[in-house]
């Protein structure tokens, strides 16, 4: 039997290393970490992709710390945020978005189990915060972490603002909110409750502070302007919610009408339902235009709330014994308005329906009645720039009183941006030079990043670029379908108690969701590039983390960039 030799099958006698195939290329691959769409879309500016990547390796404590860098209250947002991150998730193109909201809740609950990372006092300047809703709390939290002494003033008896007054217990248990506030208090934030701006708290007192952040919220009733709305059985929805959230259990009578289609309307409806009412939500547009979170609408209906569309109130007629006759006009949908939603157009057709209680949830005006005249107001809100800067020196503002996107997440984002603005303002006043502009910390076109401002990102990123990874940039063929875990687990009770409705995901299921994350734009060392490189020109770095490309042999074919599942490799002509 003859032994096979190199000449039998044309094997080179010398090494092929002398053939530097790298000389053929006119483009070359580079590892560039890019921005995941969830990170860009998050109004808070959380590094969602970053904590998912840590969770993939079961590094839960580090994931919690990363999350807390941008979000002071993940246990709250994990329950009440409308999670636009999930709409942006590139996994929507495969088998449904990663359940980011539920993962955040799991991490948020984990964060409450121990003190937040300590924030030693390092600065002298005193900062005052007016309002202890999510915007005020976020500003106070971030400033405390930056080392400032902060005092928060709150008109109500307890801090929390709309979180406490507006959001029902079945969505956000008070125990969770109180623990969350404890964590912020432990950072050294001083709370002064029961003082109202313009009342016990006079404007000139605030000028003693080196900087002030104003986040008074939006609590002022916005009149409908229809006859009979002053009737005792026609109530502001927020007042009603504040009563119930404060422990009262008012008699709602038999039939309750809720006017509006937003989250306050859903909260009113489900709260009234828990108090025994037969509840109908009357909305002047249709389901598609409702601003409420979709899950809230579904839950309301599941609990027996009925929805009536294309009905706008025109008058409330008092009847005997405190009962009302509510009169509505039938609407049709017309052209889209400034919000992009189709607007309601009156038809002239009217109808009446009896009600024991009417709750108005059609929006509120910013609580700006006690501000001095030199604070500029624009379209009913305090005029601010992105960093919360007002027209008055040292006074910053944010939250519902200064913005038009009134969600908890937007308020948290605004409070954080103001903290960046205040930090820069105070440091400039101190004489620090060469401070960069905080807007340079922007995550693509999303929110600003506290981590970038501090310059101590624990997540190592390789030559990051501010480009968002879109659906076309991920390679779905490398991901096996894995069904999304239902992130909405009903507690099984009927709508008669104020016990938390949604049980959330178990830690195990939440971790499984983290494994569904594509880690868009950020190399997680999956090694596919290493496998696909036909020239074996990719290898691990000396330290073992990440990869390097041997440009002597990379011939610029682009297969690595094409196959990278998460868009972390791009082709460039630079440097050639």
């Amino acid at each position: 039997m003859s032994e096979i030799g190199p000449r039998d099958l044309s094997v080179s006698s010398t090494t092929t290393e002398m053939n530097r195939t790298g000389s053929w290329k006119y483009i070359r691959p580079v590892y560039h970490d890019r921005v995941a769409p969830c990170n860009e879309r998050c109004p808070v500016g959380i590094d969602i992709e970053g904590y998912m990547n840590l969770l993939r390796e079961d590094r839960i404590d580090e994931a919690v710390d990363l999350l807390l860098r941008e979000n002071p209250m993940p246990a709250v947002t994990g329950r009440v945020c409308d999670h636009p991150c999930e709409q942006a998730c590139n996994r929507c193109g495969l088998d449904g978005a990663v359940a980011i909201h539920a993962v955040e809740r799991m991490l948020g609950d984990r964060a409450l189990e121990r003190p937040y990372p300590a924030a030693p006092l390092r600065q002298r300047e005193q900062v005052g915060v007016v309002g202890s809703g999510p915007a005020g709390l976020a500003c106070a939290y971030h400033l405390a972490r930056l080392g400032y002494p902060v005092t928060v003033f709150e008109a109500a008896r307890e801090p929390g603002g709309m979180l406490r007054l507006g959001i029902p217990e079945y969505r956000l248990p008070r125990a969770v909110l109180d623990l969350q506030l404890d964590r912020i208090r432990e950072l050294g934030v001083n709370f002064v409750c029961g003082v109202r701006l313009g009342g016990d708290l006079q404007w000139n007192v605030l000028s003693w502070f080196d900087a002030v952040f104003m986040a008074p919220g939006a609590h002022l009733p916005r009149p409908l302007g229809v006859p009979g709305e002053g009737h005792a059985r026609v109530r502001q929805g927020l007042d009603f919610l504040a009563d119930v959230n404060g422990g009262q259990r008012p008699d709602v009578g038999g039939r309750v009408l809720v006017i509006g289609g937003g989250n306050t309307a859903m909260d009113c409806a489900r709260t009234a339902r828990r108090l025994g009412g037969a509840v109908s939500v009357m909305y002047r547009r249709t389901r598609a235009e409702m601003p409420a979170i979709a899950e809230e609408i579904q839950d309301a209906e599941a609990e027996g709330v009925s929805l009536e569309f294309l009905a706008a109130p025109v008058a409330f007629h008092p009847l005997d014994a405190g009962v009302l006759d509510a009169e509505f006009e039938r609407m049709v949908l017309g052209e889209p308005d400034a919000s992009g939603r189709r607007s309601p157009v009156p038809t002239g057709e009217r109808f009446r329906t009896r009600a024991d209680l009417v709750l108005l949830a059609t929006g509120e005006n910013a609580s700006i009645e006690s501000l001095p005249l030199n604070v500029d107001i624009e379209r009913g809100a305090i005029r601010v720039d992105e960093l919360g800067t007002t027209t008055v020196r040292a006074f910053f503002a944010g939250g519902d009183a200064a913005g038009h996107e009134r969600t908890v997440a937007h308020a948290l984002g605004a409070g954080k941006r103001a903290a960046l603005g205040i930090d820069r303002y105070l440091r400039q006043a101190r004489g620090e030079r060469e401070l960069r502009d905080p807007v340079q910390t922007r995550v693509a076109s999303g929110n600003l990043s506290m981590t970038r401002w501090r310059g101590d990102d624990p997540v190592r990123r390789v030559d990051p670029v501010e480009e968002v990874v879109g659906p076309a940039d991920v390679n779905l063929t490398h991901f096996a379908p894995a069904a999304r875990h239902a992130d909405h687990k009903p507690n099984g009770e009927t709508a008669t108690t104020f016990v938390e409705v949604n049980l959330g995901l178990s830690a195990a299921d939440a971790l499984a969701e983290a494994h569904r994350c594509f880690n868009c734009g950020v190399c997680n060392e999956c090694e596919l590039c290493l496998i696909y490189c036909a020239d074996v020109a990719i290898r691990r770095t000396e330290g073992g983390a990440r990869f390097e490309i041997d440009l002597d042999y990379c011939k610029g074919c682009g297969v690595c960039a094409e196959e990278c599942p998460r868009g972390a490799i791009s082709m460039t002509r630079e440097g050639l």
């Binding site: 030799g5 039998d8 094997v11």
Partner: protein
């Protein structure tokens, strides 16, 4: 412990590949082959077979993946049929020229058009000159045994081996099969030990430019490997028989010693011919049978020995080389030409059963009768059972 199971021919291939511990399987589905790799994919998924299963976008890619895997020293397998095999054609040359001991199962299926999924040997025979060993099978037991022996043969001589079985008559027909214990197979077929393989720590080019001054020597080495394959096959069968008690032979000759007419066939029609020959023998007719298992390398000497001195040979071809005739008949005529005229049989060629048309005992009976009646073969092979 060996077990006995009733399995279809396709799964006999799968079992054989599992027992042979193939390391890389790359395949694209095609009827009637799909069950072969379907079962293998399940074995890979369940962990019963520790192999990398690569789904590919075409048979061309399947063979390319097998070549790549084989070049690194892995034991590689694929399976295909008909159009799929035709699509692989370019890479079949590359597999043999690169001396990659890949094993492939081809389930004989007719080529379209007219679109036809039934059995026909033309697909494998059309790859005659690609440098692959070709082994045809008659029963499911033979399929399983041949699959395992094919790996050993391939790796001994560094040539790719194609095992061939009829669509449906074998691929989808269940028969009892003895499945050896994997420990016994491990003793028979150790892990592949490739002498020349791709190694990224010592990179060499494989299959690069070879100038006229060296190409012929490469082809000669290939031809010598084919010659060796003929010898090594018998050695491997001998070893198999000692361990498992079964052997098939590159050529099997029954009742040829005193035969006036010998039927020559390959594949499942051999079984039908056996039945007819037994009946005729019982009736006192001197009819013999030759089964051709090995088509490449062509076992010329063995066939000459079996057929020398027989008056008439009737070759059954379930295939067609258009413009010439049945391919087995053509090869046998060529192989017998050097037999001295007195001992040289007259070769009658019959084309039949194309595209899965049934070959019944009476079909073969009519061929025997016709061969006996004819003084000499027709100028062209006769077509049996066709509408005029």
């Amino acid at each position: 412990m060996a077990i006995r199971k009733v399995i279809i021919g396709n799964h006999a291939v799968s079992w054989g590949v599992q027992l042979a511990r193939a390391e890389v399987i790359a395949a694209y589905p095609i009827t009637p082959q799909t069950q072969v790799v379907e079962a293998l994919s399940e074995m890979c998924a369940s962990g019963d077979l520790d192999a990398r299963f690569i789904k590919v976008e075409s048979e061309h890619s399947a063979m390319a993946a097998c070549i790549g895997a084989s070049a690194t020293g892995a034991r590689a397998f694929t399976a295909t049929s008909s159009q799929g095999l035709a699509l692989m054609h370019e890479l079949l040359h590359w597999a043999s020229g690169g001396r990659h001991p890949i094993v492939m199962a081809d389930i004989n299926r007719a080529l379209g058009p007219g679109w036809n999924i039934w059995t026909d040997q033309t697909d494998s025979l059309a790859q005659r000159d690609t440098g692959w060993v070709q082994l045809y099978c008659e029963t499911n037991q033979e399929v399983l045994d041949t699959t395992i022996m094919a790996f050993k043969l391939a790796e001994r001589v560094n040539l790719p081996v194609m095992l061939v079985l009829d669509a449906f008559y074998l691929s989808h027909t269940a028969e009892p099969v003895e499945i050896p214990d994997i420990a016994e197979i491990d003793a028979f077929l150790p892990k592949r030990d490739a002498k020349l393989k791709l190694d990224t720590s010592d990179p060499h080019s494989f299959g690069a430019l070879v100038k006229p001054d060296a190409y012929m020597e490469m082809r000669l080495a290939l031809q010598q490997a084919m010659r060796e394959a003929r010898v090594v096959f018998d050695e491997i069968e001998e070893e198999w028989e000692q361990q498992f008690g079964r052997r098939y032979g590159a050529v099997e000759a029954d009742y040829t010693e005193d035969a006036e007419i010998v039927i020559v066939a390959a594949g499942t029609m051999v079984s039908t011919a056996r039945h007819v020959v037994e009946q005729r023998r019982a009736a006192g007719e001197r009819i013999g049978l030759v089964k051709v298992k090995m088509f490449r390398p062509f076992p010329t000497e063995t066939l000459r020995a079996a057929l020398r001195g027989v008056a008439k040979v009737a070759v059954l071809d379930r295939n067609l080389s258009p413009g010439h005739g049945g391919i087995f008949a053509e090869e046998i005529r060529s192989g017998l030409y050097e037999v001295p005229p007195d001992d040289r049989p007259k070769v009658f060629g019959y084309v039949l059963g194309l595209g899965g048309r049934d070959i019944r005992p009476e079909t073969i009976g009519s061929i025997i009768d016709r061969t006996r009646a004819a003084a000499a073969p027709e100028r062209e092979d006769l077509w049996v059972g066709v509408e005029a």
